[in-house]
């Protein structure tokens, strides 16, 4: 049971990060490798700003700044090369990842940082132990995911985003303000990265390696869930988190990341469109 709780925490943070990644993938049609560095940027800004201004203002400003940075990067770096296709966008993102990584080292230094936030001591709830801070992290992740789902499914903006994801050209013909929607997507995706980075930092530490150490797991969760489906991605993230942490019961914990990638390879071989692909379900239904 305890492993299940740890897995839920791991999976929920992965879900927040991967939802942002998948949102951009579905609409802008490329793998945003720099997403991990936006996570690290958010964590670094927050760890510095919360020490100065307190937890809530520090986090809000950090998320806003990262969202703004995402919009700027989208407009200035990615839009100009968009006509050249997904590969160019991918390599632009890889380049951006290294630039942000270098800037993080230059600005914040290489020392390990920790949030001045205590998660408290664990409550013994039957077979599990859960600290108040861990519960708060779970709740925040759940609220963020719920908020994203409501935005995408219950608002006009969400309809526009889904229209752009489904068929960008048709959406434009039908009067959807594609450029404005694109800016919103960049802001949302980057903000989700920042939130995930901050939560990961609160749970562990903040280092310049935070982005690199998480982007592969984000990619794995996105592929596992099927990149065309946000809810599938969230479910896949939770599955991945739980399986990784539950695997500690039967194999050495140092092999935990290996478990994630074994699952990924298995899914790629058996069901390359992802476990929760909408397209596949539509095909089957038809």
């Amino acid at each position: 049971m305890q492993s299940l709780v740890f897995g839920l925490i791991t999976g929920s943070l992965l879900a927040v990060a991967t939802a942002g990644f998948a949102l951009l993938r579905n609409t802008e049609r490329f793998l945003h490798i720099a997403h991990g560095q936006f996570m690290a940027l958010g964590a670094f800004l927050a760890v510095v700003l919360t020490a100065q201004w307190g937890l809530v203002p520090g986090v809000l400003v950090s998320v806003t700044v990262v969202a703004g940075a995402g919009v700027l990067c989208g407009a200035l770096l990615f839009d100009p090369v968009k006509p050249q296709g997904g590969n160019v966008l991918l390599f632009t993102s890889i380049g951006l990842a290294w630039v942000i990584y270098a800037l993080l080292i230059a600005v914040f230094g290489t020392e390990v940082r920790i949030f001045e936030v205590s998660l408290g001591q664990g409550w013994d709830l039957g077979p599990i132990s859960l600290a108040p801070g861990e519960l708060a992290i779970l709740a925040i992740a759940a609220l963020v995911i719920l908020g994203l789902w409501l935005l995408l499914n219950r608002t006009g903006l969400g309809r526009s985003i889904r229209a752009v994801a489904s068929n960008r050209e048709l959406a434009e013909v039908r009067g959807v303000p594609v450029v404005r929607v694109s800016r919103v997507i960049w802001a949302l995706s980057s903000a989700l990265a920042a939130v995930a980075g901050i939560l990961l930092g609160v749970l562990g530490t903040v280092t310049t390696e935070l982005g690199w150490s998480n982007i592969l797991l984000v990619l794995a969760a996105a592929v596992l869930g099927g990149t065309g489906n946000i809810l599938g991605v969230i479910a896949a993230s939770l599955v991945l988190g739980i399986v990784m942490d539950a695997s500690a019961l039967v194999i050495d914990t140092s092999y935990r990341p290996v478990v994630a990638f074994v699952i990924l390879i298995g899914v790629l071989v058996l069901r390359p469109e992802g476990l929760f692909s909408v397209a596949r379900r539509r095909e089957v239904a038809a």
Binding site: I114, S118, L119, Q121, A131, T205, T253
Partner: protein, 419 residues
């Protein structure tokens, strides 16, 4: 003090690249250590983790190295030539060490190598031996060097064997029977942990539960849960700061209030702020604070940095290694790598006139005397394998928010697994 992270493939590829690149411009066995007696400056190389896990250790290490180089040049240099310090970042990784080594030797023209951590030492052992580059490490505890040093590799810090034995000894002397060990899968962390595990479990009635972790995780909750599942009465955490901090906080979060023995990598200011800081205890090579060399060095270090030297950061060891290089080079009368390497144990160990600075050593050598340099970190007397004969060891605890030595300790050699 380094990591085993990453697969063998990039290591092999990197080694091939080093080998391929080193031949045309870099030193070969014939060139002997990359040195050339061309009358220019002599370059002392320093390869260490300026970024990554060991970043906290590098600023004092670089300052200490510069203090040594300044002292050498103020005394007239080596063989009448100025010494310069070339420093490269190995990113606290094996592949970074290989790339940094290549640059130091081929581009910077380093004639000796200092400061490299354990993983880099292990990875570069064959290359350095082939290229005959005198190498001293100031903080590498790897047991790999226990019987492989003495020709081109020397160290001015305790072996991990000693650090591991002390950890087991501490637990034994406090009467603990059930130890859980959380150990990062890196050379620097696993070396002493293996020795501690073997020594502690070798005592009748003792039990050890070892959990291996990979660095770079956002959370170590599952690992800590596994470690606590055997209800240990003492915990050993052998990890870098990136993994160590969340592990220590996780142990506290789970309400576990037992002594925690930590590896030297965690003797850092950051660990003094964890909620269970009062439970932490560590063993570390100590500085010989009564030595005139230490007093002189400490004064200059404080002038430059505003800080006291710290055994946990190995700064005095970094100073010592470069004074040793300079004295060995002077004793050899050449910068030739194999000649210099053959003099390092001689100038560091008895017999010989005890000297406490480079200037004193230089004068004694010019008078035709044998010398025995007494370092700032310890006496530096070495055995035939280039390991310290009697490293200073202290028990450290957190007192008033700072790591402080609380007692000295001698190793009980009966704990050695082979004894």
């Amino acid at each position: 003090m380094t990591r085993r992270r990453g697969s063998v493939i990039p290591l092999l590829l990197s080694s091939l690249v080093v080998a391929a690149c080193a031949e045309p411009g870099g030193p070969s066995a014939a060139d002997s250590g990359g040195a050339s007696d061309d009358g220019g400056d002599i370059v002392f190389g320093q390869l260490l983790g300026i970024t990554g896990d060991y970043a906290s250790f590098s600023p004092p290490a670089i300052e200490a190295a510069q203090i040594a180089v300044d002292e050498i040049n103020e005394a007239g240099g080596v063989l009448g030539r100025e010494v310069t310090l070339a420093t490269e970042d190995n990113r606290s990784t094996v592949d970074g060490a290989i790339a940094g080594y290549q640059k130091l030797v081929s581009v910077d023209g380093a004639q000796v190598l200092g400061s490299l951590e354990s993983d880099g030492i292990v990875a570069l052992y064959d290359t350095i031996t082939e290229q005959q580059l005198p190498t001293i490490c100031s903080s590498c505890g790897t047991t790999f060097l226990d019987d492989k040093g003495g020709e081109y590799f020397f160290r001015v810090t305790a072996s991990d064997s000693d650090a591991g034995l002390i950890a087991a000894q501490l637990a034994r002397d406090a009467g603990y029977k059930n130890m859980s060990m959380i150990v990062q899968n890196t050379e620097g962390a696993s070396g002493p942990a293996e020795v501690a595990e073997a020594a502690f479990s070798g005592i009748e009635g003792n039990e050890v539960n070892t959990v291996t972790i990979e660095p770079g995780r956002s959370s170590y909750a599952a690992e800590v849960d596994q470690a606590l599942s055997t209800n240990p009465d003492v915990i050993y955490v052998g990890a870098g700061i990136e993994a160590g901090l969340p592990i220590l906080r996780e142990i506290h979060r789970r309400g576990y209030d037992v002594p925690i023995i930590v590896s030297p990598d965690l003797i850092l200011p950051e660990t003094t702020t964890v909620p269970n800081a009062d439970n932490l205890v560590a063993a570390l090579g100590a500085f010989d604070v009564d030595s005139p060399t230490y007093e002189s060095y400490a004064e200059r270090f404080q002038e430059r940095t505003g800080e006291e030297p710290s055994p946990g950061l190995y700064d005095a060891n970094n100073y010592d290694q470069y004074i040793l290089f300079a004295l060995a080079m002077q004793a050899a009368g050449t910068t030739d790598g194999s000649e210099v390497a053959s003099k390092i144990i001689d100038v560091a160990s008895a017999p010989g006139t005890k000297v406490y600075s480079y200037a004193e050593g230089l004068e004694a050598l010019e008078n035709g005397e044998e010398i025995n340099f007494e370092g700032a970190s310890s006496s530096l007397d070495m055995n035939e394998n280039g390991n310290l004969v009697s490293p200073q060891l202290s028990i450290l605890r957190i007192v008033n928010g700072e790591w402080a030595p609380t007692e000295s300790v001698a190793i009980d050699s009966s704990l050695r697994p082979s004894a």
